[in-house]
């Protein structure tokens, strides 16, 4: 057994360099790989939700189209733009940190944080609309079971469900289980992302990052972009699937 195991690097090494890495480059690469392996598990996790969506949409096409048309397309589209914009500001935060522009990197991180909170705020408005229309499935909200008002033929009240032939309230409820499971898990990821951004902003404020050490920004960026990609798929699948049927009794 060797009696001297090096646990520290020689003077001059970056203070953020951990003892088990040769240099900053190797440490950053290992971190990036680790984040990607984590994202693989996330792909499989959200993949299962997308699979459940696919199977039930295939089984109840009319109910899914009707339920989807009841979602607020405008808010969904605004949220898509908000999230894409936040991905852009996150990418700019990584760039600013890489080139050592501390002020720009703090501004970009703060912008990303604010856009993330905007997304969550709009999501909360949407959830509240669903609560008002008694569209929260099952007994998730005590005293407010799933019990939407169904529009009679010719009625145009947008708070009521418009059911085409073949769609039942029970199957619309299935859509809303999947809607809340998917957007809820997505929102949870956004909340975690907002937490990460808060920590990053504080670290950037304290001048912890430099062109040599920006791995935390880079790796959190990977996570943030992944959550954005999930929404890029959720938006058309949840909000747009039945819009082309709206004209003819859909």
């Amino acid at each position: 057994m060797p009696d001297a195991i090096a646990t520290t690097h020689e003077a001059g090494a970056h203070s953020a360099l951990q003892h088990h890495f040769e240099n900053m480059e190797q440490q950053r690469e290992a971190g990036t790989l680790g984040m990607w392996v984590f994202l693989v598990t996330e792909i499989m996790f959200f993949g299962a939700l997308f699979l459940a969506y696919t199977l039930y949409r295939y089984k109840y096409p009319e109910a899914f189209a009707a339920a989807s048309n009841h979602l607020d397309l405008r808010l969904g589209a605004i949220n898509t733009v908000v999230l894409i914009f936040s991905s852009f500001t996150m990418a700019m935060a990584v760039y600013s940190t890489q080139v050592g522009k501390r002020r720009n990197s703090i501004i970009c991180l703060l912008l990303t944080l604010v856009l993330g909170l905007t997304f969550l705020g709009i999501k909360a408005v949407e959830y509240h609309d669903k609560y008002r229309d008694s569209l929260i499935p099952g007994q998730l909200v005590p005293g407010r079971p799933f019990n939407p008002a169904v529009a009679k033929p010719g009625e145009t009240d947008e708070h009521k469900l418009h059911l085409p032939p073949g769609a039942t309230v029970k199957n619309v409820e299935m859509f809303y289980w999947i809607y809340f499971a998917m957007t809820g898990m997505h929102a949870l990821h956004m909340i975690i992302g907002v937490g990460l951004l808060t920590v990053l902003t504080i670290m950037a404020w304290r001048g912890r990052f430099s062109p040599e050490y920006y791995a935390p920004v880079e790796i959190s960026g990977l996570y943030w972009h992944f959550v954005d990609i999930v929404w890029i798929f959720l938006f058309p699948l949840l909000y747009l699937l039945g819009r082309h049927l709206e004209g003819h009794g859909g």
């Binding site: 299962a48 990418a91 747009l240």
Partner: protein
Amino acid sequence: MSEHVVYPRVYVTIFLVLLVGTSLTVLAAFQDFPGPLNAVVALTIAVVKGTLVVLYFMHVRYSSRLIWLVIAAALFWLAIMFALTISDYSTRSWLPVM
């Protein structure tokens, strides 16, 4: 050094393309294409947008082969999960119900 700085010009371009993609997917959703084409168009646009985010925002285009392998493995397992499950559900009606 495999470190690669992606310049803001690239990020701005990708950002604008993503906005165009979002507008296209909303416009396409209101067109009544034959058969399942609406879903095909929506998913194609989503896949293109997702790929751009992965390649440029997530720097995969400039990353090592190891990262490519990890992502390919994820997509491969995802494909298995979808293919086997859907082949089950979509063929259940082929057998007479006992």
